[in-house]
Symmetry: C2
Subunit: 610 residues, 2 copies
């Protein structure tokens, strides 16, 4: 029936004046032809849109995958929806596989449950809020810990009801100030978020490991290649232990410290990575003031005094968000301050000083630890420890010290670790100078939350000893759209995405190069028909256009297996088969093309199965 309809559709396009009459008869068949490229809504084009600075964003715009609607918000065309449906299926299978129960929380929640947890006030403008027709305060869910506790707390009353894990795949809205990069960082996104509940820390840790492994399987099955899990800062989620799953790519916003020693497995987000510095040879010298007119930078000092930054004691000035009071970090001249560590040490939010007032007594550009009496909290980074002699500011205009020795000239100070890990730094696990910084995009995260939410929201169970306790929680997230975009970022060429077959919108694209030729067309139609019947997902391009234009569109659609039927191939009784990633190009016999292609597809799929 399908072949018949294709022929009719051919007719329909040849004699367009018969359009309405014929379409009435063949509607049924005509509308089923959705796998035709010509019917696919969305434009494919050559020019890179102006606002696209990363490849995946540009290619997904040029390939008709999505359309911009407002800051950080896109409508998704069918190819993207097919991809995300497949990613969601993989996630669902793996979550079910570790005992997850799929549930559904509302997107719009009453403020009251966020007030219970305390996050209604602790979260800022990222959370969208409105009042409903009854003047009730409502919020849009950016995460669902509160909803998970709300759902579970009345029902899991006995220790025998534990452990359990609930998850959903649902829309979230986060009023993100830094929306960028297409689907990499958006305001509205589809997320899988899971919440587990336990009666002991051991049980949580045990399940956390299970979830860790499930995440590894998800990313492998979805075809992401360079994924590493790193320890991370728990941020606004609360809790202590957490890991981020990072896809390594130069466009990543996160920086990771990874040990490049093959025998070592150390990986951490640079936000939490230990910074261990090499020992430096230095000798005690006399403290000497030198004139440094207008020299306020490390580079300037190096030029004027001929001292490497490693021999300097740099001052970095911050202000606390709460009261704008100053915090000065003294740190070795070649290192940078890790603001997350500083924040955690101070237990206060800080920002780089927006300016330094005169009444503070701080002499900008010439700050040093000797004789400093400005109004500021002073922090000494661990990198300064054990070094005998520094160049540093003299706390007066146009002057620096040489030969500064902290123990002798400042006295006993507390050293804390607030420096960023750096390329070539010492690995805290294997002790070798093999720390390498890499950039990555966070595609998933897992947290050991503890009892933060169950305590604040009063969720309890009766334990075996009859006492009431708060269950211990874990939570586990994956951003579906971001995962798709980063896989595109990782696996593309200049011409388009190269989708792994496990998440590709279609498995095979048939290109019929001379669809006006009845023989060629009927060979293509037959192949299309047979592959479809066998359950292969086929996209069929039988437009009467130049081969170059057809292949350009096919490259943008990124379908892993391409089958070309042309005059040349028909004359030789073959169908040309090639892979989108260029790893294979060959021919199969026209007679056995269907079975051969099915085998090729199955072999490719097997690579992503676990």
């Amino acid at each position: 029936m399908r072949v018949f309809s294709l022929k009719i559709v051919g007719l329909y396009f040849t004699f367009s004046q018969l359009k309405v009459i014929i379409s009435m008869y063949i509607y049924n068949y005509y509308w089923r032809m959705i796998m035709l490229v010509k019917n696919l809504l969305g434009s494919r084009f050559k020019e890179t849109p102006k606002d696209c600075v990363i490849a995946s964003h540009a290619l997904m715009m040029k390939g008709g995958y999505m359309k911009y609607m407002s800051t950080g918000s896109y409508s998704l065309f069918t190819p993207t929806k097919r991809i995300t449906n497949k990613v969601e299926k993989i996630i669902r299978e793996e979550m079910d596989g570790i005992g997850g129960q799929e549930v559904m929380f509302p997107v719009v929640m009453p403020a009251s449950i966020w007030e219970e947890s305390g996050r209604y006030s602790s979260i800022g403008s990222e959370m969208a809020r409105f009042t409903d027709r009854n003047n009730a305060k409502m919020v849009l869910g950016m995460t669902h810990e509160e909803a998970a506790v709300h759902l579970a707390r009345d029902t899991a009353q006995s220790y025998t009801d534990y452990p359990f894990m609930i998850y959903q795949i649902q829309t979230k809205f986060r009023d993100e100030p830094r929306a960028r990069g297409g689907l990499i960082r958006v305001r509205e996104f589809t997320m899988k978020d899971a919440y587990s509940f336990h009666t002991s820390q051991e049980d949580l840790e045990c399940y956390y490991d299970e979830c860790f492994k499930a995440y590894e399987r998800i990313f492998k099955r979805a075809g992401a290649k360079n994924v590493v899990a790193v320890k991370s800062d728990s941020g606004m989620m609360g809790g202590s232990v957490s890991h981020e799953f990072m896809l390594l790519t130069d466009i990543g916003e996160d920086t990771l410290a990874i040990c490049s020693n093959e025998e070592c497995d150390y990986k951490a987000n640079v936000e939490v990575a230990e910074c261990i510095t090499h020992e430096i040879e230095s000798t005690v010298q006399d403290l000497e003031e030198v004139a440094t007119p207008n020299v306020k930078t490390i580079e300037g000092l190096k030029r004027v005094l001929g001292v490497d930054p490693i021999g300097m004691c740099k001052a970095v000035v911050y202000q606390k968000n709460a009261d704008d009071s100053y915090v000065i970090v003294f740190i070795r001249g070649d290192l940078e301050v890790n603001e997350t560590k500083l924040r955690n040490y101070l237990r206060a939010e800080v920002h780089p000083a927006s300016g330094i007032s005169e009444e503070s007594g701080i002499v900008a550009g010439f700050i040093g630890p000797v004789g400093f009496n400005g109004k500021a909290q002073v922090v000494f980074d661990k990198s300064l420890k054990g070094i005998e002699s520094f160049v540093c500011g003299a706390n007066k205009k146009d002057a620096h010290f040489k030969g500064m020795n902290i123990a002798r000239d400042v006295g006993e100070v507390e050293y804390v670790e607030v420096a960023k890990a750096y390329n070539g730094g010492i690995c805290p696990i294997c002790g070798k100078p093999t720390i390498t910084l890499r950039r990555g995009v966070e595609i998933g995260n897992i947290f050991q939350l503890g009892t933060k939410y169950t305590t604040s929201m009063n969720m309890t169970y009766v334990d075996s000893d009859g006492t009431r306790k708060n269950p211990i929680m874990g939570c586990y997230g994956i951003g579906v759209g971001r995962l798709v975009a980063t896989i595109c970022e990782e696996q593309h060429d200049d011409y388009g995405p190269i989708w792994p077959i496990s998440i590709a919108p279609w498995q095979v694209e048939i290109c019929c190069l001379q669809s006006t030729d009845e023989t060629i067309k009927s060979v293509s139609d037959k192949l299309y028909e047979e592959l479809e019947k066998s359950g292969v997902e086929v996209l069929y391009d039988e437009r009467d256009i130049r081969p170059g234009a057809m292949f350009a569109d096919a490259d943008l659609l990124g379908v892993p297996v391409r089958a070309v039927v042309s005059r040349k191939t028909c004359e030789r009784g073959v169908v040309e088969v090639s892979f989108r990633d260029k790893s294979f190009k060959g021919e199969v016999n026209m007679e056995t093309a269907t079975e051969d292609i099915i085998k090729i597809v199955n072999d490719l799929k097997a690579k992503y199965e676990i």
Copy 2:
């Protein structure tokens, strides 16, 4: 492996002191046991919650299907999520089957595209609005015509790109003032919304019919029984022709006029149903004023004057929302005003008069068409036409007329149809007095939208003659949660829902009545294991509880096929099999139980296949 794990789990519960140690080893297996009733999150209980006035709401609360979060908003537990996943799969298949391309629109949209269509101001407080961090006005999608046009307008530029249909299954929020009945009428809901685009009205109509048939298939496959499609009012959607798919149930908010003549197919929402009245024998009489002190109602007049309401000319007073000016509808005493028809005739929103001011000159309770000179627009309903003599108000206190003849006493008037269809009224198709009023819940709707949105939002294509035209749209909605709740309303007994197997959360529930007995347990385990392996969706209850309590829970979970393994059945070498709807109860041989149950499941499934 699974049988092994079950045994281990058995052990785990027998020796609970070994909990942690064992769970470390068997975590993998333990967590896969999600199909056990004991692991299922959600409480099942006997008492009907106070706020539940309809059966489906009560049963879905008592059965652990959902939890109230805020007005018209629920979190859904796993059984409901499994049901909605199946409903969505059916919808997706049928939408794909008529050439639909699945897409995804944002839930949060910029006000700007709603300003383009004009609905930002025309829709009132049902639409939730907020401003984002950049002070941009945003709305929550309650429908997505604007988003569909936004997505398609830049890409479908040529007539050859048409027709096409795009759809999504996504969360919507409508700040509904009348949230009620559990999932029947909520504020946040999952909806399938589809939008088709055409170059001619014929093509739209042709596709509209296709969609109509797809809807019939969807509801049949989902197991809804009493679904009728009725003509409806298009309301805020715009457009002219539209149909609602109504599931007939006494708890419905909508009233339908259905012709009970079996040879006739007439069905309409009472909002648009024609009201055709019987001819009434009446003779001309003289106009006579009668004293009716304090008699202001139809019932009072009937008692005092001995005249049936059918012989009266009743006055119903409305006010226009815009300026509170009065509108008086004269209508036959036994009929009611259809406000939708009145609104459409006046082209203005109206509400029943909240009171009648003295300066209007309207004498409440004694209003009649003879000598009326109050300040009001007067409307005569068609039901008054051709009747020679009425009782009506005399426009002064405590007086009515008898023998009023409109032509003679009032003069020539315009008759318009603003009466509600009524039980026993004349069918506009077959002409018989067979109109029956039924109540229904709207579970889907389809609209022929015309060019309302493509014109206002400036979506055009180049036609074959080179001119630019606006495409013609259709739109098609189904509320997923409401469909599920109405099916529950239609198919339940006092003990719980009776889910059709095509959408049931599980297909088979195994009840193991003496799980402490090793033999009985191992028979159940084996059956569970084998059915699962064969792809049957099994829920397994092996809790050590009373049979009555187990069956009560099973009734609430509504799984269509139940297999009971007990001491009695084991002794006789059988498994007891029964249907949740009580249509079957029998036994299968223990040896062949798996195959027999698979066959039973397949036979049941076949009923819903098309």
